[in-house]
Structure formats: C-alpha cells, structure tokens
C-alpha cells in the first residue's frame, strides 16, 4: 500500500487538472460552463480515492513496529546546487529531493485532511448548486488546495513543505476571491495572501538558516543534526532560537496568531465550504503542524517555547472575548477558530505536542461541522449571516440543529465529547508540564468558559427564542438537501467520539499520544524532569474547568433565553466595555489611526490612497509602503531621471553658447587664433611646461 503514497496528493492534482483544463476549454470555446455532474464526480471522486488510499496507508503503517513507523520516499531530485559551508565546517551541496514522509503525525494529518476534505467536497455540491459559471472553478480550486495541503503534510523536508505552504496560501487566495465581482472579496484575498507572505518571509529565512547550518533541509537529518550539535537546550539566545522564532513567525501568519490574525475574519468572504475546509479544519492548522513537526528544534529553544505559549494563550483570550459579541454567525466561528488555534499553540508552547495535535484533530471535526452547519443555515436564509435576523430556526432545520448542537457541546468542553478530552489534556499539560505555567492554565480555563458562553449564545440566537427572520425569507425556509446534511451527520458522529482516542491518564491509556510517540521520539528527554502529580489533582482541575464551562453555558442561557432584557441591560450598564469588545478592541481602527490618519497628514500624497484605504494592518502597512513607493517613484522621475536630462540640457545650452561664439566675423576668428598662440606660449613662460 505504502508504495502508492505518492498517489495521495497526485489524485487531487489530477482532479484539479482535469476540471480546470476541461472547464477552461469548454467555457472559452463554447461559452457554456462544464456540466456539473462531470465536475463534482471528478472532484469528489479524486478526493475520495485519496482518502481511501490514506486509510490504506494508515492501516499498513500501524502494522509496523512503532520504532520504524517513519517511512521516507524520495520521488525525484528537485534542486541541485553548489556547495555551502555548514556549521560543522564541512561542505554540503545544495541537494533537495522532492520527498514524502509518512509517520504517525503526517498519517493523522492526511486522514483529517482527506476525510474532512471529502465530506466538505460532498457538502459543497449542494452548497454551490446555484452557482453556474464558477462551478468548475470552485471545484478545481478545492482540488488544488487538497493537493497542496497533502504536499504540505506529507513532505519530508522543509522546502517541499514550503511548497505546500505557499500553495495552500495560493488556493486560499483564489477561493477567498472566488466571488470575483465582490470588491471586498478581492481585497480580503489579497490581504490574506500578503499577510501570509509576511509570515512566509520568516519561514523562508528560517529554512535558509537551517540549510546553511545543517547543510540539509530533510526533517530527519536536520533533527539528527540538532541533537548532535545542540545536545542541551539553548539557554542563551542563539541560532537555534532564531530558527525556531522565524519558523513560528511563519506559523503565526498561516495560523492567524496575534498580530497576524487579522486576515482570517475577512477570509469569511469566501464560500462557506471554503471557510470550513481551509479556514477551520486544515490550512490554518498548518502552522500548528509545522511547529509540532519541528518540535525537536523547539524543545531546545525554551525562550521561544515561552513566546509560543504566551502568544498562543493571549490570542485565545482576545479572540474569545471578541467572539462573545459578534453578530455575524460566521465571524463568531472565525474568531472562535482563532481562539482554538491559540489553544493549540499554547499546548505546543508548554511542550504538549501530542495534546496540541490532538486538539487539532478534534477541532477539525467540530469546527468544520459548525461551519457547514452555519452554511446550511445561511443557504436556508438566502445568504443571511446576521444572527439578529435569525432565531427559532430549530423547527425548520432539525438536522442542522442537532448536528450543530453536538459540535457546540463538543467545543464547549462538555464531558464525553471530543472537545472535552483534547482541551482538558491541554489544560492539564499547561499545568503539569515543566515548561507550563499556572497563568497559562488560569487563562486557559477562563477561555474555556468564554468559549462555552459564546458558542451557546450562537446556538440560542440562531435556533431558539422568537423568530426575527426578515419577512421575505420567512415563509420558505426549509432544511438543506441530503447531500449537505449527510456530511453534517457524519461529522457530528465524528466530533462526538474521536475524543476517546486520547483519554486522560486517570481514565485509561492515551492511545493517540502513544501512537504519535515515534514522530517526536527522543526529543524531550532533554527537558524531561516531570514531577508527578496524583490523579486526584488532575481530576480536581478537570472538574474545575468543567464547572466553568457549565457556568458559561448557564450564563448564555440566562441572558439569551431566560431574561433577554437583562442582556441589553448589561450591555447598557457596561456600554464602554461592550463597545470596546464589540468592536474587536478597535484593533483595525487603531491600525487605521496609526497609518491612515498619519498618511492623511502627509498631505496630498495620500489623496491617491484614501480611495483604497481598507481596514487593518495590511492595508495600513500597505499605505506606508505605498507612500514610500510613491516617494521613490517621484524620486525616480524627479531626481534620478532628472539628472540624466539635466546633462542633456547642459550640453544643448553649451552648444548654443558655442554657436554664439561663432560670430561669422573673420577678425574675431583671427582673434581666437592669437589667443590660442598666447595661451600656448604663456603656458611655457609662466608654467614652464
């Protein structure tokens, strides 16, 4: 089975090629788009095959003995270049293979990607049904994304990983900008891509450092090199810390961590399946995957670990608070995604790699489910996303309701559901691990409570209470077709049960973590002096967090079902705070203030840019860039080029002077003659040449 590993990414690629080329051909020759059945059967078929292959590979992987569960396959030599001198002082040739690596970690990833991906593809058939011209475009892009994502997770070296990394960025660019006629979509797409590029900037430099220190970018070789050269953690800030930090910068961009998270909410401009697949389940977790993958490096850079944990938990907190007050259903989910990603990074930061990946998996299930659910709601309401115009949909959309319900409870951390296990693992590790810190735990628990609150709030506002539907949509709201609901159900089952793969220590063996062991084997003994806590402690903490979650749920119930007036009263009472949080801490506005107004002050320069000043950091910085660009543009015209023309003018002017000298009077000419003689001979008389 394993020898067909390479097919897993290639299949979606073929799907992309077929759909893309045939569709393009069709539309450019006949003007009519490709027939839908052909398109989706190709797209979903390829992904399904990939999924079944993935299962097959997974199966044959777990047949193997845990210690040789790392399979590397080099497909072909990609880049060959001259020599560089590595850290150890000897020469290494730049020789990079296009290779694949299947180990527990990537196995888990491909299962999630292909599995969830397939479901979302199926769901999209229904969701995109009413889009005529773009149907083939959409599915070919989706397949392209699958290919890139699988390349990313299956790569066996940093550079191929970077290929996938950029590739998913590209396909997300295409899919966010899918609604071509919407300007906001285009802007969001560009914003996403450029912010990601800022992250990639860090990533690529990290790769260059890695190569020029270790002379290779192959995962296993690099990690061996790390162990060889840095047997102990780097207590002083050194090259390894730099590598780790730069990698993390890349991760921040891709996984929307502060301060590079601003693109994700905007990315909701894309179709909902896209948000589900790319901006919830898979792509945004690439950062987590990458950090987990290179945990060998991180485990030896404690300072960076601290930064990762700090930024992660902080992001979790901020995003959660913002999510509590959003009115747009997809925005809520977007911020919650950011918050959950924060969790994962916190986990990685405290050294709980397995826990982080575990949460990644569970999150993939329930967050995809939530998005798809919201998608079916949106479709039912004819693309209405504002929760204030929903409510009481339960009776119209039963399936959507219960599936989303499960997902909500899962993410809220209700015991027995997947979210509970993964989140609890993270919290426990952040408490118990040596790299952990009590503060992280506290904030984590707090965030758990808030999560419970805002998710329930979303449920209540959407499905319960009185109907606030707009009249025009009110009377033909009905449940989505099976092609959309079936994936919901499957995912619901998934998000209910996958949690049992990773039981807490006091319940039983943690299969998942144990399975992942080989991937991170031997990376931690360096920092491993765990003081063992009794199970009681763990249980106690769990109880505590669960109660907090319960409180969250209750508060939501209290405010949005029981005493709705109260909520408004509270809002009135704490208007200031509410305003602050409701407006996402004015982050975007602050950026505007920082860049845009300053820009305005710079006078007429900016008149050109005010027109296209959009919110946010990117455009703010873009503004700055454009100012400097404008200035250098002006410089180019008015200084560099001016000098050139100036020379020309000088010549022409002196030419006219010389013409004046040529008076046409013969005696003047004779005069020059004499002057010439005088000059020459006085040269001798006075200078004595």
């Amino acid at each position: 089975m394993l020898e067909y590993l390479w097919l897993i990414p290639v299949l979606p690629l073929l799907g992309f090629a077929v759909n893309g080329l045939v569709g393009l051909w069709k539309v450019s020759r006949t003007g009519k788009p490709q027939s839908k059945p052909f398109v989706y059967s190709v797209a979903c078929g390829s992904v399904f095959l990939a999924f079944s292959l993935a299962v097959g590979c997974f199966w044959s992987l777990i047949q193997l003995d845990p210690h040789d569960r790392i399979i590397e396959q080099d497909l072909f030599t990609w880049i060959t270049g001259g020599a560089v001198r590595t850290m150890s002082g000897d020469l290494a040739n730049l020789h990079i293979n296009w290779g694949m690596q299947l180990d527990p970690l990537s196995a888990v990833m491909i299962l999630v990607v292909t599995g969830v991906g397939f479901l979302i593809h199926v769901y999209a058939i229904g969701y995109m049904a009413d889009d005529e011209e773009g149907f083939y475009r959409f599915f070919s892009y989706m397949n392209l994304f699958m290919f890139m994502m699988l390349t990313l997770v299956l790569s066996n070296n940093f550079l191929v990983m970077f290929v996938g990394w950029e590739g998913v960025g590209l396909s997300s660019y295409l899919l966010i900008g899918y609604y071509i006629h919407k300007k906001s979509a285009g802007d969001a797409a560009k914003k996403a891509f450029v912010v990601n590029r800022i992250g990639d900037f860090g990533f690529i430099i990290a790769i260059m450092m890695i190569f020029s220190y270790f002379g290779t970018v192959d995962f296993t070789e690099v990690f061996e090199g790390v162990e060889a050269i840095f047997p102990t953690p780097e207590l002083m800030w050194g090259p390894l810390s730099w590598i780790a930090l730069l990698l993390f910068v890349g991760a921040m961009g891709k996984s929307a961590q502060i301060p590079l998270y601003v693109w994700l909410p905007d990315a909701m401009e894309g179709p909902t399946p896209v948000s589900a697949l790319i901006h919830a389940a898979t792509m945004v977790t690439a950062g987590v995957y990458m950090v987990a993958r290179s945990s060998a490096i991180y485990s030896r850079a404690p300072d960076v670990l601290l930064i990762v944990a700090g930024i992660g938990i902080f992001t979790a907190l901020v995003a959660a608070t913002i999510a509590m007050f959003q009115q747009d259903i997809k925005k809520v989910l977007a911020y919650s995604t950011v918050s959950q990603l924060g969790y994962m990074f916190a986990a990685l930061g405290v050294g709980a790699v397995a826990a982080g990946v575990f949460h990644l998996m569970t999150h993939a299930f329930f967050k995809a489910l939530l998005f798809l659910g919201s998608g079916s709601v949106i479709v039912a309401l004819h693309h209405e996303q504002d929760m204030r115009k929903m409510g009481g949909l339960k009776k119209y959309l039963p399936t959507t309701w219960w599936t989303m319900g499960i997902a909500t409870l899962a993410i809220a951390g209700v015991p027995g559901l997947s979210g509970f296990f993964s989140k609890d693992e993270i919290l426990w590790r952040s408490f118990s691990n040596p790299q952990g810190h009590i503060l992280i735990w506290i904030v984590g628990v707090l965030v758990a409570g808030m999560t419970a609150f805002y998710m329930m709030r979303m449920m209540f506002l959407t499905f319960h209470g009185e109907e606030r539907l707009l009249p025009k949509v009110a009377h033909h709201v009905q449940e989505s077709p099976l092609v959309m609901t079936v994936p919901l159900m499957i995912l619901a089952v998934g998000s209910a049960i996958v949690g049992f793969l990773g039981l807490p220590a006091w319940l039983g063996p943690n299969i998942f973590e144990h399975f992942l062991e080989p991937a991170f084997a031997t990376h931690y003994q360096a920092t491993e002096e765990v003081h063992h806590y009794a199970h009681s402690t763990e249980i106690l903490l769990t109880v505590f967090s669960v109660t907090l979650a319960a409180m969250g749920i209750y508060i939501a119930y209290y405010f949005f079902i029981r005493h709705k007036e109260k909520s408004t009263w509270w809002v009135e009472k704490f208007r200031g705070v509410h305003q602050l949080v409701y407006n996402k801490y004015y982050v975007d506005e602050t950026y505007d203030l920082l860049f845009v107004n300053r820009a305005k002050d710079t006078g007429r320069f900016l008149s050109a840019f005010d027109s296209n000043v959009v919110d946010g950091f990117v455009n703010g910085s873009a503004t700055i860039t454009r100012i400097s660009a404008w200035i250098s543009g002006q410089a180019d015209i008015h200084i560099v080029d001016r000098i050139v023309n100036l020379i020309a003018e000088i010549f022409e002017y002196s030419s006219s002077l010389l013409r004046k000298v040529q008076t046409g009077l013969v005696q003047r000419y004779a005069l020059f003659f004499v002057i010439g003689i005088i000059l020459v001979i006085s040269l001798y008389l006075y200078l004595g040449v």
Binding site: F651, S655, L658, Q662, V666, V689
Partner: protein
C-alpha cells in the same frame, strides 16, 4: 657646395630624381595640358575637363602603384623623399581627389559653374599635397603647403556669383594667409636654431641646444599653423563658414585631403624634428585634442544646417586623429594613418549624399531636406546611416576600427611610458570616449529625419553615374574596412615604418 650638373649626367640626374616625384609630375602635366586644351573644349561639353582630370589622376595613381615598395630616401638634394609614409599619403590624396572629381561634374552643372580650371586646380592642389607628404626640407614643405592652400582658396571661392562662396573664400584666405605668416615665422626661427632648412639636419642641431626657449616658440608657432590647417580648436573657427560656403564637392575634398596633407607634415615634423622632445608638446597637444573633440561635438548638437554640422563633426574628428599624434609613437602613426584612411571613405560618402540632396531649388542643407528620405530612396538613406554610424564609431564599420586604433595607441602609451603625461592621457581617453556618445546624438537627429519623419520633399535627388559610383565605392569600403580591416592595417603599419 654642389657644382652645376654637367650636361652628360644631367639626364640620369633627372631620371634618378624624377621618379621620386613622378606621380606629382603626372598631375602637374595633365593639369597644364587641361589648361591648354581649355579653349578647345566647347562650353557645352565641358564635362571633358572632368574626364581629363580623372585620366591624370588615374595615370598618376598607376605610376604611384608602380613605385610601390622601392622607396627612395631623398631626391633633389634632400628636398623630397619617397618613403612608404609618403606613398601611403599620396595614395590617400589621389583617392580622394579622384572621388572628388567623379562626384563633382554633375554638381558643378547644378551650380552652373562647370569650368575646366576647376579640375586643373584640383590636380594642382593634389600635387601640392603630394609634395608636402614627401617634403623633408622646410622650403619644399612650405612651397607644397602654399601650392595646396592657394589652389584651395580659389576652389572655395569658385562659385563666384554666390555670396556665400565669396565670403567663405575671403575668410578662408585671410586666415590662411595669416596662419602661413605664423608658420613662416616659426620656420624662420627653426631655421635660425637648426642652422639649416633640412629637417634631419635641424633635428641633429637642436638636439644639442642647451636652452630651448626659442625652440619652444618656433615649435608652437608651427604647430599653431598646422592646427589651423587640420582645424583644431582654437584655430578652427574658419571651418564651419568655409565648409558651408564652399562648393560641396570642394568641402568634401578639404575635409579629407587637405586635412590629411596637414597631418602628413604634422607627423613628419613631429617625428623627424622633435622626435626626442615629446615631453615638450604632448601635454599641450593632448589638451588641444581634448578641447577640439568636445568643442566640435558640442557645437554640432543643435546645429540646424547639416553642412555646418558635418563641418563641426570634422573638427571633432580632427581632435580624434590628433590623439594619435599626441602619443607620438609608431602605433600612434599607424592609428592616424588608419583613421585618415577610414575617414576618407566615410566622410566623402557622407558629403556625396549631401551633393545628391542639392537638387534644383533645394539647398539640401537643412534638416528638413532629409525628411522621409528613406521612403523615397531607401538605398541612399541606408548608405547615409552607414556613414553616420561609421563616423560615430559604431562597429562593424570603418569608423570603429579607426577609433579603436586611436584609443589603443593612447592607452598603450599610458601603459608603456607611465611618466608625467599619464594622467593627461587618461583624461584625454575618457573625454574622447564620452564624446563618442555626444556625436552619436547629433548624427541620429539626421537619421531620425530620414527614417522616421514622413513628409518627404517631392523633388527627386540629382543622381549621376559618378555619384552612384562614388557612393558604391565609399559605402563598400566603409563596410569592408569595418569587417575585414587587416589589409588596410598592414598598409598603415607599412606607412609608419618610415619613422624610427
């Protein structure tokens, strides 16, 4: 103190000495013959003069060719020599004279001044140049110079009903006479210092001078006079006016042959008389060359009249050639020779096109007269383009080879000698190099007019078999020298053999 030759050996005296000046004699005799048969020729058939003159030049060229190789160090008691240098330059003169005559006859009809004296004078002027090239004695040198000059004064003023022509000739004449006064003064001093009129004897004398103050004065008066003839700044002022006013064919002749002759004696004097006192003049000459190149090019930039523009460009070229004189090495001489060779063809070609454009009521001198030439006569336009590219020194044309050798000689002497003059030579080379760019700019103003401007003046150019012939010859040689310069380089090196 030589006795008068006895009758017995008189004959072989002339046989011996006569062959040294055989080509000149040819020209002179044919010229005299032409003057004699003048009144026999009916006025309406006066092209005969042209053919006559052609015959003379061809005969002389044949004679010269027969003399090729067997040089004669001195003849007529050390008045003239027939060394490879002289032969090379004589050939140059003959070629340019021939081309001038061939391109003239139609033109003189257009100007309605078709007269035999014109051709006779060209022959005499050419013979004067040949005497200059061969002269190794101050007196014969001076006489040759004057023969050439006076003939040229007349030729410049030959269109005597044309105000511009009169004006040109009076200016040229006054300044020319003035300059020959200056040269003579220098020569008289040189004679006083050298105690003889024979160049080599002077050289041996002045080598022993303990104080060369007066020598310096003499040198620079002569150099000033020669600079006048080769049109170097600041002695160049006559050039634009004279070139504009003179009959175009004569302008061509002057810009090529007269310049070449002046350079010939320039080199001769420099190398024979001041061979070992280079330090004295090279600095000044370098400065003059620099100024000349720049002045010529810069003044041409906005020049609306093309004849004047070419005049200025020829000033600049004089500067370039002067570079070869400055270094005063053998490769310098080679460079000058090659440059003059290339310059003869490309410049005559350009002037020939100017003559073509002189059509009945159009002067062909304004930039507009070139508009759209390409669309009406692509061949002519392309030839003109080739000449201009070559003048600007763009490969693969003759001008590039010429410029290459000039630059090479300067840089070589920078390398070999070092010493005090290095810095000035470096500057010289830089200035010259950048001037190439400037020159291209004004040449291309005309190219643009020819190739891009659409409005063509609806008047046919004045073709003639002769002009076509000239254009073909000059054009093909301009290209040939550019692509396969080897044989021409050999000639030039041969010429430079005669010094040191």
């Amino acid at each position: 103190m030589s006795e008068l030759p006895q009758i017995t050996n008189l004959l072989e005296f002339f046989l011996f000495n006569g062959r040294a000046i055989g080509p000149q004699l040819h020209l002179i005799l044919w010229g005299l013959g032409l003057l004699c048969v003048d009144f026999l020729i009916p006025k309406n058939k006066s092209r005969v003069g042209a053919f006559f003159a052609t015959g003379g030049i061809v005969m002389s060229a044949i004679h010269l060719y027969r003399l090729w190789g067997d040089t004669q160090p001195s003849a007529f008691y050390g008045m003239v020599t027939l060394d490879s240098f002289a032969i090379f330059f004589n050939m140059l003169f003959l070629v340019s004279a021939l081309l001038t005559v061939v391109m003239s006859y139609r033109y003189m009809e257009v100007e309605e001044e078709q007269r035999t004296e014109y051709y006779a004078l060209i022959l005499f002027a050419t013979s004067g140049m040949m005497f200059m090239a061969g002269a190794i004695d101050l007196i014969s040198l001076f006489i040759g110079l004057e023969l050439m000059s006076i003939a040229t004064y007349i030729l410049v003023g030959f269109l005597r009903r044309n105000k511009r022509s009169n004006e040109a000739s009076i200016k040229y004449f006054l300044l020319g006479a003035f300059s020959s006064g200056v040269i003579l003064y220098g020569m008289s001093l040189l004679y006083g210092l050298g105690g003889s009129t024979n160049l080599s004897e002077i050289a041996s004398q002045i080598a022993g001078l303990q104080d060369n103050t007066l020598l310096y004065l003499a040198t620079f008066l002569i150099i000033a006079g020669l600079c006048f003839k080769i049109a170097a700044v600041p002695f160049h002022m006559w050039v634009p006016d004279a070139y504009e006013g003179a009959p175009t064919s004569i302008t061509a002749f002057m810009s090529v042959a007269v310049k070449a002759a002046a350079f010939a004696i320039f080199l001769r004097i420099i190398f024979v008389v001041f061979a070992d006192s280079r330090e004295m003049y090279s600095f000044v000459l370098a400065v003059i060359a620099m100024i000349t190149i720049t002045w010529g090019n810069v003044a041409a930039i906005i020049q609306p009249n093309i004849k004047r523009l070419l005049a200025y460009s020829s000033i600049a070229h004089a500067g370039f050639i002067l570079m070869g004189v400055v270094v005063g090495t053998r490769s310098g001489v080679t460079a000058v020779a090659i440059y003059l060779l290339a310059y003869t063809f490309m410049n005559l070609g350009a002037w020939a096109v100017m003559i073509l454009l002189r059509r009945q009521d159009i002067s062909g001198e304004r930039l507009e007269d070139f508009n759209g030439l390409f669309f009406k006569h692509p061949a002519i336009a392309i030839l003109m383009l080739i000449f201009f590219l070559s003048l600007a020194g763009i490969p693969p044309f003759a001008g590039f080879v010429a410029k290459y050798f000039v630059f090479a000689s300067v840089i070589e002497s920078i390398f070999t000698e070092g010493g005090g003059n290095t810095s000035i030579l470096i500057w010289l080379v830089l200035v010259a190099a950048l001037n190439v760019v400037v020159s291209l700019y004004y040449y291309f103003r005309i190219v643009v007019a020819m190739f891009v401007k659409e409005d063509y003046l609806p008047v046919g150019v004045s073709f003639s078999g002769g002009l076509v012939l000239v254009l073909v010859i000059t054009g093909s040689l301009t290209v040939l020298i550019g692509i396969y310069p080897q044989p021409f380089i050999d000639l030039a090196r041969e010429a430079s053999q005669s010094f040191l």
